[in-house]
Amino acid sequence: MLSFITRRIAAAVGTLFLSSVLVFLAVQALPGDVATQILGKDATPDAVAALRTKLNLDQPAWERYGHWVWGALHGDFGTSLVSGKAVGGEVSMYLGNSALIAVVTVLFAVTGSIVLGILAGLYRDRWPDHVISTVSLVGMSVPEFVVATVLVLCFSVALPWFPAVVLYGPDATVSQLLPAVWLPALALAVVMAAYIVRMARTSVIDVMATEYVTTARLKGLSTWRVVTRHALPSALLPTLHVIALNVAWLVGGVAVVENVFNYPGIGKLMLSSVQNRDLPTIQAIALISAVVYVVCNLAADLATMALNPRLRTRGRTR
């Protein structure tokens, strides 16, 4: 088992290394020269040349890559080309705001979708299942910005319950942001929940068909007890992986939704950094997203192993 964990972690580190190379190359390949993009159309050739030197753009790419990775390993992501502030601090401020949405989204999506998934599984092929399955299919197919826009039109414009956009800057307090968190979180949860509902439903159907559930039923246990004590733990296992993948997806999905709500989170920072060609910031965000992705996957794998006796013992029986 230990060797499995080591191998899994080694693979994660390798993935991160590869993604750092890809991130660096992708950012280099962005159309438009950084110096002209920053200085604007009014720039003189002298100013552009001076800025290129200042940004080390005259050095070879591999040298700049090494410099960047070395700094990143020490938590130094450089300074923003636009604001002149340290990228690390900027990114963590925006990331904190996004985390607020992410936490609410995960709470909505996980609790809601597991309950719905179990209901669908238990009422397989009857009307609750049809309703839940259809709705989750729709949720899966509609892009998040459409869901977000419809939510805004219903709950901000038609019924003025929630703000349509956030008018505060990135340094807003949690209490200022809190009223604006619900709609973006709901939009993300709708899209995210669909997958979890489908997965939970399938697992419940599989588990309910197993012999030990039949045995439990024959023993005369109530359906509620059978479901909570016997079926649920096994049914949740495969769902865990889907949840982990979706949490990782959140990082990307949040970019689109935050833009619709003008929410001062990491997604909005990413968009404006791309527009401004703020390379250090783009690289930092991309790398952090990669870390989130890899860590979520790793955690899901390890948790699955910890919960599944068959996987846990595989190493020994062979």
Partner: protein, 527 residues
């Protein structure tokens, strides 16, 4: 940057999102209100007087995360400038110059030296009296290389910063390097707002001016607030305060208006779908700024086949601007007939060659480009680029010109496509005085000469016009310059478009033209 394509390269990555959201909005709202016909866009904002007081909430696109309140900078937060500062000279609604901090101005017989008489009894927000030293300092600040002001390119060939004269506290003397009878009009530019003497280092944060509002708070690309300056020389503004919010995404801006979170969308030309949704709402409506934007299809005169003037003429004769206005603007604008000078300008001439596809065909044949095929680049940078390109494509077909419309990425459009591809779509804000317009955009070698057009006759006419102090004669010369641009230049100007501005139904006294916004008179009903 904000000089030309005002709503900046800032807010556009999610333009796809914007249009999809707008569509989502329109079906939802029409769904709610029953199957009505699309509402007709109102021609003007609500009439009536505003109530005194209240806070106007404006959503604006941020210039960049490195925004500043320094008016001379290319990254200035545009909406704050007119609230905080005054210029020496401004542009009145009829296109003529009007006094601002300068009460009057005069020149010598050769238009070589300009003398400005400055308003007395004006104080900056920090209590210091405004004098000619501040006016001279402002000009030197714009010309300072460290400021990197876009307006420096226009003023530097004219002014020697060392030679500015301040014979007394309320007189500014500007000797010019070459005669220019239109010089005061160059000072109406929004980079020319007057700042206090010696404030170059701090002005970007303090925003101390003589304007109708004083700064309370400002965050680059974030929220900010200005409050009424009771001692303003033109009287106190109607409003108590203006709150500015920066919202990068266009659909987010219109959602904020629809939800009643803001009262006015600045620098946002709504697309027709969104405009209809806004006009149908109970809270918001549309105000039009007539002919506010001037749309161009520049042909790069240094690239084949546009090096040949006959091809350029054929491209212009081949299409019908009235058709472009009808299709791309749904009638909300005026046909340009390839003259970049807006019809509201005092120097405007209305003469132009007629639409003539047969003659276009003939010219192309002569030039050896029969059945010309060209790529025309657009992007979602502005909602009208693609409709304009498609309308041109359609109209030019009759002359045998085959246009392929290609959509490029919006965020790198002005670094990768503009002034690089031989044929593309672009736009400017109208409101430039005629001399600035021609000098900056059409004169040989000027910084924004987007067609790279270089014509000695044209430059000579411009020089002659500048040196001519007789107003009538000078206007004739600017008319001659227009004819040259229409007949020989590289810019096709299919249309002037009204800007569709989203405002709350409570807003009264909204008035905007060119780069002028009435901060004094705007207010709210029931504030």
């Amino acid at each position: 940057m904000s000089d030309i394509h005002h709503p900046g390269r800032r807010s556009v990555l999610a333009a796809g999102v914007a249009s999809a959201a707008a569509l989502g909005g329109s079906w939802l709202l029409t769904g709610c209100s029953g199957a009505q016909a699309a509402p007709v866009l109102p021609a003007a904002a609500e009439k009536g007087a505003p109530d005194r007081g209240g806070t106007l909430r404006i959503a604006r696109p941020p210039a960049s995360d490195a925004e500043t309140l320094d008016p001379a900078s290319s990254l200035s937060a545009y909406e704050y400038l007119g609230a905080l500062y005054n210029r020496l000279v401004r542009v009145a609604a009829n296109g003529e110059l009007a006094p601002d901090l300068a009460e009057s101005w005069e020149t010598d017989a050769k238009a070589r030296t300009w003398t400005f008489r400055l308003r007395k009894g004006v104080a900056f927000h920090n209590g210091r009296a405004f004098t000619s030293a501040d006016a001279a300092y402002t000009l030197r600040h714009i010309l300072d290389k460290a400021t990197a002001s876009p307006q420096a390119a226009v003023l530097a060939p004219l002014i020697d910063p060392e030679k500015l004269g301040t014979p007394d506290a309320h007189t500014l003397v500007v000797p010019l390097k070459s005669p220019n009878a239109e010089f005061p009009s160059l000072l109406t530019h929004y980079n020319c707002y007057v700042i206090p003497d010696g404030s170059a280092k701090s002005i970007g944060r303090t925003g101390i001016g003589t304007g109708p509002f004083k700064l309370e708070s400002f965050a680059p690309a974030g929220p900010g607030r200005v409050t009424a300056y009771k001692d303003h020389f033109a009287g106190r503004p109607v409003l108590d305060a203006i709150a500015f919010y920066s919202v990068a995404d266009m659909s987010a801006r219109s959602n904020a208006l629809l939800a009643g979170q803001v009262d006015l969308l600045s620098q946002t030309n709504l697309d027709f779908a969104t405009a209809r949704v806004v006009a149908a709402s109970d809270r918001a409506t549309i105000a039009r700024v007539k002919n506010a934007q001037w749309y161009v299809l520049p042909m790069l005169t240094t690239e084949k086949p546009f090096t040949d003037v006959r091809v350029r003429q054929a491209m212009k004769l081949a299409y019908d601007p009235e058709h472009v206005v009808k299709v791309a603007l749904q009638g909300a604008g005026t046909a340009g007939w390839d003259n970049p000078v807006p019809p509201s300008d005092p120097a405007y001439i209305s003469a132009h060659p007629k639409h003539d596809p047969e003659k276009a065909k003939y010219l192309l044949k002569q030039a050896g480009h029969e059945g010309l095929a060209m790529d025309l680049y657009t992007s979602s940078y502005d909602p009208l680029f693609t409709p304009m390109a498609l309308a041109y494509q359609d109209s030019a077909k009759r002359a045998g010109i085959r246009i392929k419309v290609k959509t490029a990425s919006a965020d790198s459009y002005y670094t990768q496509i503009w002034m690089k591809k031989p044929l593309m779509a672009t736009y400017w804000f109208t409101g430039r005085p005629v001399d600035q317009l021609f000098t900056q955009i059409f004169r040989s070698g000027s910084s924004y000469n987007e067609t790279a057009w270089s014509d000695k006759t044209f430059d000579a006419v411009l020089d002659k016009a500048r040196a001519e102090i007789d107003d009538t004669k000078r206007r004739e010369l600017y008319g001659e310059a227009q004819t040259l641009v229409i007949e020989k230049g590289g810019a096709m100007t299919p249309m002037f478009a009204d800007r569709l501005v989203g405002i709350s139904r409570k807003v009264r006294g909204y008035a905007e033209h060119g780069f002028e916004f009435d901060y004094l008179g705007i207010g709210l009903k029931g504030a």
